[in-house]
């Protein structure tokens, strides 16, 4: 049973001085899927994320990773287990080359990171692997560019390549398309789809077009609790979700705006 699920939470609760931010959440992330966590502002999405990567400690409940209880592990240990998270703001090394950015992640397993007496040429053997990773995210031709010169979307792509260098089994992406223009959103969405092969991805995402396009499974959170779960069709038809997102009164108006946005999105993507 648990072999089907990479990550599972059981009765996860987080309380902040009387306020329950996460309330009895039972999340099951199936192996090899893209699972989206959505919900209105303040629903507790980021708190769940922080609990899963142990940036916060759960009040009660357990977190299982491949059936193993990881509730008491520290952030770094969880990262080494194979769950690597991204951040909302792009995290790159701006004044190093694109290739060097990826190489720094690859270097961690080399065991030579304290060797100040060796030439950095010993790192050249990592170049092939680094270029492969850059190829995966479409940045191979920029390998020798200085990272700071890249456009925002490419920086996020580079960040994904760097994360992939650690070869995590599971990626937790915190709003990967936040703050991006239409074109970049499309590029990054395609990229997430591509890297999801052989991996499990759990993402928090506000852009519902991206969610519709990528997610196999969606969990909707509201006020810290799971409102509903299912694929995009099921979830988007659910009247409770529409209410949570849009409110009952403005239903028609917002639905129209939504349709218009949908059409505009299609134009830019195609």
């Amino acid at each position: 049973m648990s072999a089907d699920y990479v990550l599972e939470t059981r009765n996860l609760v987080k309380e902040f001085k009387g306020f329950t931010a996460v309330d009895d959440v039972n999340l099951k992330v199936k192996r090899g899927t893209i699972h989206a966590l959505i919900g209105p502002n303040g629903a507790g999405k980021t708190t769940v994320f922080n609990l899963l990567t142990k940036f916060l400690t759960p009040t009660t409940g357990t977190i299982l990773y491949n059936g193993e209880d990881i509730t008491s592990m520290k952030s770094a240990a969880i990262a080494r287990k194979g769950i690597v998270r991204s951040f909302q703001i792009s995290a790159v090394f701006p004044h190093l080359t694109v290739l060097e950015n990826v190489r720094i992640a690859l270097q961690r397993n080399e065991g030579n990171s304290f060797h100040f007496w060796k030439s950095e040429k010993v790192l050249d053997k990592l170049n092939d692997r680094a270029l492969e990773l850059l190829d995966e995210v479409g940045l191979r031709s920029f390998a020798n560019a200085i990272t700071v010169d890249l456009p925002y979307g490419s920086k996020r792509a580079l960040e994904i390549a760097t994360t992939l260098a650690l070869d995590p089994e599971m990626l937790l992406l915190d709003e990967p398309t936040q703050g991006m223009g239409h074109e970049d959103v499309g590029v990054v969405a395609d990229l997430i789809k591509k890297v999801s092969a052989n991996r499990t991805i759990l993402m928090v995402e506000h852009n519902l077009h991206v969610v519709a396009k990528l997610a196999d499974q969606i969990t909707v959170l509201q006020r810290g609790a799971i409102l509903t779960e299912g694929d995009y069709e099921t979830v988007s038809q659910d009247p409770r979700v529409r209410e949570a997102y849009m409110g009952v009164e403005a239903d028609d108006e917002v639905a129209q705006a939504h349709a218009a946005a949908n059409a505009a999105e299609k134009e830019t993507v195609e």
């Binding site: 998270r85 090394f93 701006p94 720094i104 961690r108 030579n112 990171s113 100040f116 950095e120 790192l123």
Partner: protein, 308 residues
């Protein structure tokens, strides 16, 4: 290729220089250049502004001076001992300092360096205000008499080249890559699984050891270890040299030290002597306001713009 030619040219220049210029002056430049290189390793390549590097320069100087005076060991052992003591002190100070960041890091290093200053002022073996005078240069490996300035110069040049090479190697090593990553984006380096404080500490120790090496050598050159070397003025001066020359560049500290020592030496004797601090201040302000990347940094920009 181009850079190799430059190295060969500079080396040739360094070899013939003492026939033209007063060797003691050149040795002074080399000692300060090594000091500034050591400092630049931290500021330019890890992004740590230490305001207490005088403590390591002074420790190297006092330890070597004391041993040469009291035990009569050969100079290479004296220098090794001075360097080792500076490294140990750097290990202790570094452990305390790397827990803090930014201005707090600078303040912690300054406070610790002041501790060292008062220690050398009060300790019974340092000669207080007088310092250690008449330190013998001794015989290198028990054979080569260093009291001749020309011989001493080539010894100092060899030490400088070793230190310079050490910095160069450290910067361009797998370790150096991680240092740059920390300088660029510390949280990201953490999230990739690097324990950044350990890396900062190791860099701090290397830097302290090289500063100690500079101090030990300087004591032999001037046959004197004094409080000037551990005073916080010295910590400030090395910041000036590095910024003026160009922090984060390989040659910047060398150029910066050369300029500062030249100005100090040739101006303090003349009519402008009384204004030396004002002149240095103005240079510093102009440099910080107009030439952020220092002499070497600006020069590199110029070359990049016009020849690439």
């Amino acid at each position: 290729m181009k850079i190799n030619k430059l190295y060969v040219f500079l080396l040739a220049l360094a070899l013939v220089a003492p026939t033209v210029v007063y060797p003691v002056f050149l040795m002074k430049v080399l000692c300060f250049a090594l000091f500034a290189c050591a400092f630049n390793l931290l500021l330019g390549f890890v992004g740590l502004l230490s305001f207490g590097h005088a403590a390591f320069l002074g420790t190297g100087g006092y330890v070597t001076g004391y041993l040469m005076l009291q035990t009569g060991i050969s100079p290479e052992l004296g220098i090794l001992a001075g360097t080792a003591c500076a490294a140990v002190l750097g290990g202790i100070y570094g452990k305390l300092a790397v827990k803090r960041e930014g201005i707090y890091f600078a303040m912690v290093t300054l406070a610790l360096a002041q501790l060292a200053f008062f220690f050398y002022l009060q300790a019974p073996w340092t000669g207080g205000e007088d310092g250690l005078q008449g330190v013998p240069r001794g015989k290198l490996l028990g054979m080569i008499d260093l009291s001749d300035n020309m011989t001493m110069y080539y010894f100092v040049l060899a030490i400088f080249l070793f230190g310079f090479w050490m910095v160069h190697r450290t910067v361009h090593s797998p370790f150096g890559q991680i240092l740059k990553a920390i300088r660029e984006n510390e949280p990201r380096a953490v999230s990739l699984g690097y324990n950044v404080n350990d890396y900062k500490w190791a860099a701090f120790v290397i830097s302290a050891a090289l500063a100690g090496l500079a101090g030990s050598t300087k004591t032999l050159v001037f046959q004197l270890a004094s409080l000037t070397d551990v005073h916080w003025h010295m910590s400030g001066e090395v910041v000036l040299m590095t910024l003026l020359g160009g922090m984060g560049t390989i040659f910047g500290p060398l150029v910066g030290a050369g300029v500062v020592v030249t100005i100090q030496n040739y101006m303090s004797g003349g009519e402008l002597g009384n204004y030396i601090h004002i002149i240095m201040g103005v240079i510093f302000i102009v440099c910080v306001l107009a030439f952020r990347s220092g002499i070497v940094g600006e020069f590199q920009k110029l070359v990049k713009k016009n020849f690439n």
